[in-house]
Amino acid sequence: MPFYVPGEDPGTDFLNLLRRNGLDPFPTTLPGTIDAGHATTVLALRCTGGVVVAGDRRATAGHLISHRDMQKVFPADEHSAVAIAGAAGPAIQMVRVFQLQLEYYEKIEGKPLTLEGKANQLAEMLRGHLPQAMQGLAVVPIFAGFDQTRESGRLFQFDVTGGRYEEQDYATSGSGSLHAGTVIKLGYRKDLSESEALSLAVKALWHAADEDSATGGPDPIRGIYPVLTVITDQGFRQLSDEESGAVFADFREELAEG
């Protein structure tokens, strides 16, 4: 059982605790480089009640599709989510450690980190991950959540060096981010309702999948649809495949009408 004298106590730092117990989640020196790319489209946009976070489901290895039902949007805790683009293995590991860090902090301190604190924590992890990013295993996440002190949705974009940039309207990441970003930019308004924001997210993901070979579109034959999530004061909610399918069906009608 880990027990520390006051001067050596790792406090609320879960990464430090892991390392002290011989469990380094991010090995920093690797021999050589791997080109893992960042084939994905994930996005987040603010709406009146909070924020919508969405992502496609495709994972690729070179020109091969390695997974059709990847999850790229994860709840970080009850009121925030992180969407990932980049090398799948390190990205999922980073999300896992991030989720554990937030819950660990909450339990040790008796209250959760502020949204700002969570965003800074993720930036810190990215900074620590820079050596791996330099070797081709970059992770570029989006972090979004409902800020309970400001009572509004907020979203943050990051770069591989740990740069943290708060966005007012929307953020996109991954190989399809340019296309998705343009679609959102043209359709965005400050007063988008939750359902309007979901429709815009679906439209953006569809156009990204239409232009980018590494982004997956809706797959009605298998019933696999991009992941749509909403974070409001009620917390994080992921739409079921049926619900996402319905938003895509509405979009299909809109397309058909021209």
Binding site: M1, P2, F3, F14, L17, L18, N21, L23, L100, Y104, K107, I108, G110
Partner: protein, 226 residues
Amino acid sequence: MAMPGMYVSPEQLMQDRADYARKGISRGRSLAAVEYQGGIALVAENASSTLRKVSEIYDRIAFGGVGRYNEFDQLRIAGVRYAELKGYQYSREDVDARSLANQYAQMLGQIFTHEMKPMEVEIVVAEIDSNGAPELYRIQYDGTVADEQHWCCIGGDSEAVLDRLSDGWSQDLDRDAAVRLAVTALAGTDRSISAQELEVAVLASDNGRRCFVRLEDAETDALLAI
């Protein structure tokens, strides 16, 4: 010249330490844990609303401590760390109360025999497993572990509280009834305790992944008023 009175027999030494620890624990107020259909209620007399006696350790595990606050809080944090490390290394389902209780027992036993002073604490580790079956462990200042059935009490006046718990407990308690039983058992017949002086939390198997839920004062007030 030999110094008179320097020899203390091991029996005496252990006895003195045990007396010392018991004295410290008996000064504080008690904490009761009561099983009910689908959960465990943990209720402590605690005038502070920030220095907690009952807390969350992991998805299905809660912790209760009485005695010296800084000491049992240190144990709580060690428990969270143990559980998180184990869950990270293996899986969340591999984290269980029995192994945590044994870890606490090892640590408290070690401190009791080897340190200058024993910890003046008594703790309870509660778990509701994935099938809704409850487990309760009581660990004493010297590392003694007991696997308790249906209810348990730690702290100052535990004998009297245990009698009242055993009189009032039945298989079909629901959450609110379990909390009421714990409160009346802690209070006894000649006084009542208000929600502001209580700390109430439950491990509820229907609360999703994290079973631990604190009851707000207003909620406790409402259920005690019935």
